[in-house]
């Protein structure tokens, strides 16, 4: 006879209400793992979307994502001529902010050379950029429509949306936009008209815009990547990172602070959840003291009483966990950030929940073990 189940059924409403509250708490824990997964995914997304084997960047930097990197625009041609390189493309990366009908819009702009590595890998609507100027591909999360014009930069040029990507955002949640390299260079390096006039007036030479942040290279499968990377790095004005090194940089250093912050929130949530489940189990045990005394009096072994409390704690946790998971899955599309729920991270939260429930039942079990069977005889 399962006493835990019978007691739950007897007080079903209270159990359900408790589970609802707990499911919100555990839902937040699941959500945080999803946010963390999303953070990693977004941090790596740009590096992975480029589909590169090698990243050629400014020496002494960890660019172009972790740090600023600036190299001459003709670097791509040098890299492309190197033995073992199949394809190469120059890219720029920058964040821009504009205002559309009074609403601020932040975009992460990637400039790429048409028909070379570095552009969007998959479009969900529209077409690729066909013209060299003033066309843009943007992620759906920006809330822009095909054909819409977006003013960007100091000269106020308008860029027409011609294509859409999906789930292409940065680790900060900003939608990614793609421009031609020329447009992106102008956005990044072009001076505002008053600044240009001042430069001319003081007799200074106008700075060239032909600069890029990195060169992406695809290496022939028949040539070892490390060898090519070493060969490129022999140029003193360049550094080369392999794709693995780039991903390691991003996942280790770029989101390190976010990782720690989320880890702290997670630990706090686990502690709070454990305390709350402990209090719930303790209160449920308090309500059953007379029944527990009676059970002891009629000869029920300790394992029956411990089982009653632990099974109830586990039931609370498991129902709360699955209800929380369902909640998160239902509201996933409406969440303002991208959540990536990996089965492994959900399994970790599940294990944490089980451990929390076992730890939380300790208080209740201690209380139950102290109950004097004689108290069942008291009036």
């Amino acid at each position: 006879m399962n006493l835990a189940y019978r007691d739950i059924r007897h007080n079903l409403l209270r159990f359900v209400m408790t589970c609802v509250g707990l499911s919100l708490l555990l839902g937040i824990e699941i959500m945080i793992t999803g946010v963390y997964g999303g953070l990693i995914d977004e941090a790596l997304r740009q590096a992975r979307a480029a589909n590169a084997d090698l990243w050629v960047i400014q020496p002494g930097t960890n660019g172009p994502f972790a740090e600023s990197s600036r190299i001459p625009g003709d670097t791509r041609e040098m890299v492309a001529r190197t033995y073992g390189i199949e394809r190469a493309g120059a890219v720029t990366y920058q964040s821009v902010q504009t205002t559309l009908e009074g609403v601020p819009l932040r975009l992460y702009i990637i400039g790429y050379e048409l028909n070379r590595p570095g552009g969007p890998d998959h479009l969900v609507a529209g077409r690729d950029i066909m013209r060299k100027r003033y066309e843009m591909i943007v992620d759906q999360s920006a809330g822009l429509a095909l054909g819409q014009e977006v003013p960007l930069g100091t000269h106020g040029h308008k860029y027409t949306i011609v294509g859409m990507t999906r789930n292409n955002t940065t680790s900060a949640g900003d939608p990614v936009g793609y421009l031609t390299l020329r447009d992106a260079q102008n956005l990044q390096f072009e001076l505002a008209p008053p600044s240009e006039r001042r430069e001319v007036a003081r007799g200074g030479a106008l700075q060239t815009n032909d600069q890029i942040n990195a060169v992406i290279a695809k290496v022939s499968p028949h040539v070892p990547r490390d060898e090519i990377a070493a060969a490129l790095s022999r140029w003193k004005h360049l550094t080369t990172l392999t794709q693995e090194q780039q991903e390691n940089l991003l996942s280790t250093f770029v989101i390190e602070k976010s990782r720690k912050q989320m880890g702290l929130v997670m630990v706090l949530l686990v502690i709070v959840s454990t305390v709350i489940i402990s209090l719930i189990v303790y209160t449920m045990t308090m309500d059953k003291l007379r029944s527990i005394a009676t059970l002891k009096l009629i000869g029920a072994p300790d394992r029956t009483i411990v089982g009653l409390i632990v099974q109830q704690a586990l039931s609370l946790g498991l129902v709360g966990f699955f209800a929380g998971l369902t909640l998160v899955l239902v509201f996933l599309p409406y969440f303002p950030r991208r959540l990536v729920l990996e089965p492994a991270s959900i399994a970790v939260v599940f294990v944490i929940t089980v451990v929390m429930c076992l730890a939380a039942s300790v208080l209740g079990v201690r209380l139950a073990m102290k109950v004097d069977p004689a108290s069942a005889l008291a009036g």
Partner: protein, 255 residues
């Protein structure tokens, strides 16, 4: 009066129990000796604080005495500071409890309240339920087998509680104010049931009570005063046995 046919089910010799030490020490039991035989219903009377409940708790293996000797159904439970270890098992197998308030588990229906004791003793679920329903029928509450305790009247709940106390056919039944929460009619029914159990199961029943209307239903009454048996009640004061008890004793003597 002791029944000469069978050995005593409860034998207590010079039992003592105190609480606290030094100035706060309270001697709850001081050298109490008594015997209860199969088929007997014994009453423990006394004022508040006289030691009735302490004695009942010691016999029920809930409290550890501080001195003396106690055997239950031939098993030594306590012998001058030696205490048997498997007291909970002993309670499950040999002792049945009837409370002032029924103390049925509120989350189990009547059949499961009775069946739980049987399952704890090793019965399978189906066998336990069958025996539980049989017992409930015996106490004329079988129709309530699927009801929860909160849906029963006081008398019905008490009868279910008695059925639970008897589920494992214990030889010693301890009742703490079994009729206190009942009117005189229902109290009479409960006492008749206890008499029936004592006779049919050869069980010894010890009841603590203040209920004067059932004093006459006991075979022997022990008065406790300040932790001791009243001097003029040593060995118990005998009430006239009922016809039922007399016939039962004759039956057993003939066996």
């Amino acid at each position: 009066m002791a029944d000469p046919v069978e050995p005593a089910l409860v034998e207590i010799e010079n039992l003592s129990k105190h609480f606290g030490e030094g100035e706060t020490r309270v001697d709850a039991l001081r050298g109490v000796s008594l015997q209860v035989f199969p088929g007997q219903i014994v009453g423990l009377l006394g004022a508040s604080g006289s030691g009735k409940t302490t004695l009942l708790n010691c016999v029920g293996c809930i409290l550890e005495p501080n001195g003396g000797r106690m055997t239950l159904d031939g098993d030594v439970v306590y012998d001058d500071r030696w205490l048997r270890s498997d007291l909970r098992r002993l309670r499950l197998e040999k002792v049945g409890f009837i409370f002032q308030f029924h103390n049925l588990l509120p989350f189990l229906n009547c059949a499961d309240n009775v069946g739980l004791v049987l399952q704890l003793a090793g019965f399978g679920a189906a066998a336990a339920r069958a025996r539980a329903i049989e017992l409930l029928d015996y106490f004329e509450v079988g129709r309530h087998k699927d009801r929860m305790p909160a849906q029963l009247s006081g008398g019905e709940a008490q009868r279910v509680a008695i059925a639970r106390a008897l589920a494992n056919r214990p030889r010693i039944i301890l009742a703490d104010e079994p009729t206190a929460s009942l009117d005189s009619h229902r109290a009479g029914i409960v006492m008749d049931l206890l008499r029936k159990i004592a006779v049919e199961q050869h069980a010894a029943i010890i009841a603590v009570t203040h209920d004067e209307k059932i004093f006459g239903r006991f075979d022997e009454v022990f008065h406790l005063r300040d932790g001791q048996l009243d001097a003029d009640a040593a060995g118990g004061r005998r009430f006239e046995p009922t016809d039922m008890q007399t016939s039962a004793r004759h039956d057993r003597a003939e066996c």
